[in-house]
């Protein structure tokens, strides 16, 4: 039983992952609101856009920790999502502010569906990885 750097990074990952789950849920709700006409897309994008970079940053942050620890398996698990995030941000519409959501195109049903699907998939991924981090944390704590 040792509180190593590995264990520490898994604990951090666990906490951050909990936040990410909230982000994903928030996204899903936001897009659902758009779909059901409750919100104006301009306002909705204004509330969603500032959260995009923090989400990506947090996710990347604990992966950097995995990298330093040599936790290759965890890193490989997360690599596709990192790649997706980078791609998503690079191919964002022309915007002066931060974020990836453009109020003029968000109401397009294709875009809306895609965003919502993305939210659900991320939620599932974060949830699964939450349990994985929990397991990995305990494993690293009890193994010496």
């Amino acid at each position: 039983m040792a509180f190593t750097f590995v264990a520490f990074s898994y604990i951090l990952a666990l906490i951050i992952d909990a936040f990410l789950i909230f982000f994903a849920i928030f996204n899903i709700i936001a897009f659902d609101e758009l779909k059901t006409d409750y919100k104006n897309p301009i306002e909705q994008c204004q509330s969603l856009n500032p959260l995009v970079l923090p989400e990506y940053g947090l996710h990347m942050f604990f992966n950097v920790l995995f990298l330093f620890n040599g936790e290759w398996f965890s890193l490989v698990l997360n690599a596709p999502l990192i790649a997706y995030h980078v791609h998503r941000y690079l191919s964002r519409p022309v915007m002066s502010g931060v974020g990836i959501y453009d109020p003029t195109s968000i109401m397009n049903t294709d875009v809306l569906n895609k965003c919502q699907r993305e939210g659900w998939i991320k939620l599932a991924f974060y949830l699964l990885s939450f349990f994985y981090y929990l397991y990995a944390m305990i494993y690293s704590l009890i193994s010496t």
Partner: protein
């Protein structure tokens, strides 16, 4: 017959079949009398010689040669009086045999219901054919004309009871009619008109292999026959492509659907499931022109507008009255109560029958909205003009035109006593004009701090037009002179001027009109010149997208403040239309583009600009508008196209709406519609008129549901499909790239034709078969692939390309099709073409014609192909922004003298208008041109060009079916398609 050519072998076979046809005339009991194969017309004899080989190896052969013998038919004496048929069988374009003489005059007209709307172009057509024994009596003509929604089975049953003779009459009766009215139908016309007959024969014969005769007869009857495009040279009907009729099964016979000019669906029968739609591989969507100028529109003022309580649908002709007090919504099927008021019919002033109300009598209706439709008191008409006064702009001389037009129409600007007006000019600074009514002349205020723009004085930049009219006049009179003299800045601070304009209008809302002639280069919103970055077609994607989101963000801000920005581009150099136009795209504005505008050096463009300005300042305008498009349960609107901002799934925010804006929506089918017989779309446009009234204009389109693929494909509306595909292609080329968009276009056509092929079994192998309703689809596609917007080379300028794409997104369908495929008319056939009445609505626009009956010659529309151009011809090319008259070298002297006012071709000069001659031909051609002009939002310049002049390229470039530089000809394109269709 060249035996080596398999195409001809097939043809020969087909002809033999045709000749064997008489015995297979359907027995009267089984076959509706309407059925009429083309060879049945007697007398003239169908003498198409089976052995008379066409003298060409071109498989794209001209069928007109074959059918010359048919011609005398047209001049036959009237047939014996038609057998007394009980129910009038009335004209409807698709139920005729493809008979050359009558096709051009077919008009399928909805019956004008009292108080209903009649589109300007479609005033009652003078030449109607009532084929049964009833005489053509103008007074009772309406009831006999089936509406688009009229149930066919009804007619059908009538015909079943008809004696066999009726069969002949059906074929002949229309002819004398046209004969009587037109006196003489001479040979030149027949050539063109006859082409169509050729198609008919080809269609019939081509299909004989596979179809039983009965089947084929029915197909013809319903207009669902097909043709091999590779062999049919003439697929364009001489009267032009019309929108297909919407046919219901049995109900709703008296109901009037929304006019196809206003509301069209790509399919006139909606497939009942998503799978079926995928099988048909057709795009499903609606195209709408909601604020079109209408000559007749029922307007209703009532204390309570009847709407469905759950889905908020407005009551419309397709609702079901459960009883006197309740109605069932046709979109969500909720049963609603009828208010007491609805029992009263204002037209007949009677009580008791809710179905007599104008709301349930017309597919298009306008309500005066009560106060609960307002979020704030209706705004006044507010106009702010933002004028570019940089060197480039001033040099074009546009200021003079704008100021003159405004001066002239200051009193006719739409508005009431509250109307306000303001002016801003900009170069590298922003100039404001204080026009307080107490001042004798306007006071100019210059703000040089463009990075942090502020409004120099809080009031009087926007003034009441009535009170300050003199000051405004003073300003408009002096403005052009003021900037002519001074040394202007070349740099443009457009962004700052727009920000300032938004600040001024912010509290009220209204319209900002921006004239822009140079690339914004200083201050916020300045743009780099991206022209040099485009080195290959791949680079186009970035160049067609905006380079900054400044204009988009500003547009969204404007949109929330009910401000629309309209743009006029007058640039001769690159101006980054792609970036700047975002300001209009998302604020419901309009974008007009006059490349190379110069008041003196480019007189055609100058004239066009002036006309466009006059139209612009006098046309109707709706402020604070929102449009909601609802559709039946089971369907949903998927993507919106047009200059608008989508505020929620079905609500479009249009700060201003103008009568020249069109919109498109893609529709998806989410649930099975098999329980329903019809589906409905309803577009409701809520706006504030320039008089400060809140109004709602409601358009309802009802379509039947179809359960099999063939029905769906046969119901396709090719023009609407092209309209929708082009919008999708624009999106595609912006999000992906141009080559993808082009490919998608071709694939769309291939998909449709393949889908059709699978519905037809055992068709001849070598054919590229297209159903009648989709025959022009490849031609349109081919043309659009060569157009400025989608061609795969870098020849079109970036701005031209962007503007073409903008137009594809926003033009109403009629103009969109004309942009892609202009109409070509042979003017030299004037002696032979039938005359038709000038529609009532367009006559009002040409008041000089007075009381007398105006007629114009109905020229056939020609394919845009150089082999349709004869050396002795004179052709009129009707483009949306220019009417070209192309005079060929060997034009007849008579035509020159009578119409062009010169002795002969040698003496002809390029002219900007036809001379005012008082000859019969000149009058007719003038009438024809004014008829064409009446279909446009404003009069466009006319240009007469000689075959040997330099300007001939304007004409020749429009012959899109020829092979062009770097692009294939229409025929080659068809062959490519054929290889892809499986």
């Amino acid at each position: 017959m060249p035996a080596g050519n398999p195409l001809f072998n097939h043809h020969q076979f087909a002809e033999q079949n045709t000749m064997m046809q008489p015995p297979i005339v359907p027995p009267p009991q089984q076959q509706p009398g309407m059925y009429a194969p083309p060879q049945v017309p007697q007398g003239g004899g169908y003498q198409q010689g089976g052995g008379g080989a066409p003298n060409t190896n071109n498989p794209f052969q001209n069928h007109q040669q074959h059918h010359q013998p048919h011609i005398p038919l047209v001049q036959q004496p009237p047939p014996p009086p038609p057998a007394a048929a009980p129910g009038g069988i009335t004209s409807s374009s698709n139920r005729y045999p493809p008979n050359p003489a009558l096709q051009p005059q077919n008009y399928a007209q909805p019956p004008p219901v009292p108080g209903s709307y009649l589109p300007p172009q479609q005033a009652p057509a003078p030449q109607r054919y009532v084929i049964s024994g009833q005489p053509v009596n103008p007074s009772n003509i309406y009831p006999t004309i089936p509406s688009p929604g009229a149930p066919l089975p009804n007619n059908y049953s009538n015909q079943q009871q008809q004696p066999p003779q009726q069969y002949q009459n059906l074929n002949q009766a229309p002819l004398p009619n046209s004969h009587n009215q037109n006196q003489y139908v001479p040979p030149q016309n027949q050539q063109h008109a006859y082409n169509n007959g050729g198609v008919g024969v080809n269609q019939v014969t081509g299909g004989l292999n596979s179809m039983s005769i009965t089947q084929q007869g029915f197909n013809k009857l319903w207009g669902t026959d097909h043709a091999d495009l590779l062999k049919t040279r003439q697929v364009l009907p001489p009267e032009g492509v019309k929108s297909p009729e919407i046919r219901f099964q049995h109900e709703y016979m008296n109901h009037v659907n929304c006019s196809p000019d206003l509301f069209r669906c790509t399919l006139t029968k909606i497939p009942e499931t998503k799978t079926l739609l995928q099988k048909a591989r057709l795009p499903l969507g609606i195209l709408i022109h909601p604020f079109k100028d209408l000559t007749q529109l029922p307007v209703i003022q009532c204390s309570q507008i009847v709407r469905c309580r759950s889905c908020r649908t407005y009551i419309n002709p397709y609702v079901y009255f459960v009883d006197q007090r309740r109605w069932k919504c046709n979109l969500c099927f909720r049963v609603n109560d009828l208010p007491e008021e609805f029992q009263y019919d204002p037209v007949t002033k009677t009580y008791g029958d809710p179905s007599r109300r104008p709301e349930v009598r017309s597919g298009t209706i306008e309500f005066l909205a009560p106060a609960d439709y307002m979020v704030r008191p209706p705004q006044a008409a507010v106009y702010l003009f933002v004028l570019d006064v940089t060197t480039l702009a001033v040099d074009t001389g546009y200021l003079k035109t704008v100021c003159d037009v405004l001066l002239e129409h200051l009193d006719t600007l739409p508005g009431d006593a509250r109307s306000q007006i303001g002016f801003i000019t900009f170069d590298s600074a922003v100039h404001f004009y204080n026009m307080n009514s107490s001042l004798s002349q306007p006071q100019e205020l210059v703000v040089c701090d463009i990075d942090d723009i502020f409004i120099p004085c809080p009031d009087n930049l926007l003034v009441n037009l009535e009170e300050s009219k003199e000051v405004v006049r003073h300003l408009l009179t002096n403005l052009p002179g003021k900037y002519l003299s001074s040394q202007n800045e070349p740099r443009s601070a457009l962004g700052a001027a727009l920000l300032a304009a938004q600040k001024i209008l912010g509290p009220i809302g209204g319209r900002i009109t921006v004239f822009c002639a140079s690339l914004p280069s200083v201050g916020p919103g300045s743009l780099p010149n991206r022209q040099a970055d485009v080195k290959s077609v791949k680079d186009l994607t970035t160049a067609l997208n905006p380079s900054t989101d400044f204009y988009k963000k500003l547009a969204l801000d404007c949109s929330t403040q009910y401000i629309a920005v309209d743009l006029f581009f007058l640039n001769s150099q690159y101006c980054d239309v792609a970036s700047i136009s975002c300001i209009s795209k998302f604020s419901g504005g309009s974008i007009q583009y006059f490349p190379n505008y110069h008041m003196v050096e480019n007189p055609i463009q100058a004239k066009l600009f002036e006309q466009a300005m006059v139209r612009y300042v006098t046309r109707k305008i709706g402020f604070e508008a929102v449009m909601r498009v609802r559709c039946s349960r089971g369907m949903s609107i998927h993507t919106f196209h047009g200059n608008l901002f989508v505020r929620s799934t079905d609500l479009l925010s249009l700060p201003n709406v103008n009568p020249d804006a069109g919109f498109g929506m893609q529709v998806s089918i989410d649930e099975s519609l098999s329980d329903f017989q019809t589906v409905c779309f309803q577009a409701a446009l809520l706006y504030t008129s320039s008089k400060g009234e809140r109004r709602i204009r409601v358009h309802t389109l009802c379509l039947p549901v179809a359960g099999n693929v063939n029905d769906v494909i046969q119901s396709a509306d090719q023009q609407a499909i092209i309209g929708l595909l082009s919008k999708m292609a624009v999106d595609r080329s912006l999000s992906s790239n141009l080559m993808d968009a082009r490919e998608a276009f071709v694939n769309a056509v291939v998909d449709v034709l393949s889908a059709y092929l699978t519905t037809q079994n055992s068709l001849p192998n070598l054919a590229l078969v297209a159903p009648k309703c989709l025959q022009m689809l490849p031609a349109y596609t081919h043309s659009i692939l060569r157009s400025m917007g989608f061609r795969a080379d870098l020849r079109p300028r970036l701005d031209d390309r962007t503007q073409f794409m903008n137009q594809m997104k926003t033009l109403p369908l009629f103009q969109l099709i004309q942009t892609i495929y202009p109409d070509l008319y042979p003017l030299h056939t004037i002696a032979s073409v039938p005359l038709v009445q000038v529609p009532q609505s367009s006559r009002s626009t040409t008041p000089e014609n007075g009381e007398e009956e105006e007629k114009y010659p109905q020229f056939p529309v020609l394919h845009l192909c150089s082999d349709r151009i004869e050396a002795t011809g004179v052709y009129l090319l009707d483009q949306p922004d220019l009417i070209l008259i192309y005079v060929c070298r060997n034009v007849s002297t008579q035509f020159c003298e009578d119409v062009l006012g010169v002795q002969g071709f040698v003496a002809l000069h390029e002219m900007d208008d036809l001379p005012e001659l008082e000859t019969e031909w000149a009058n007719l051609i003038r009438n024809f041109i004014s008829y064409l002009q009446s279909n446009k939002p404003y009069q466009v310049p006319i240009r007469i060009i000689r075959e040997d002049s330099r300007e001939r390229m304007w004409f020749v470039n429009n012959l899109v079916e020829d092979r062009g530089e770097g692009s294939v000809s229409y025929y080659e394109f068809l062959q490519q398609l054929k290889n892809m269709v499986k």
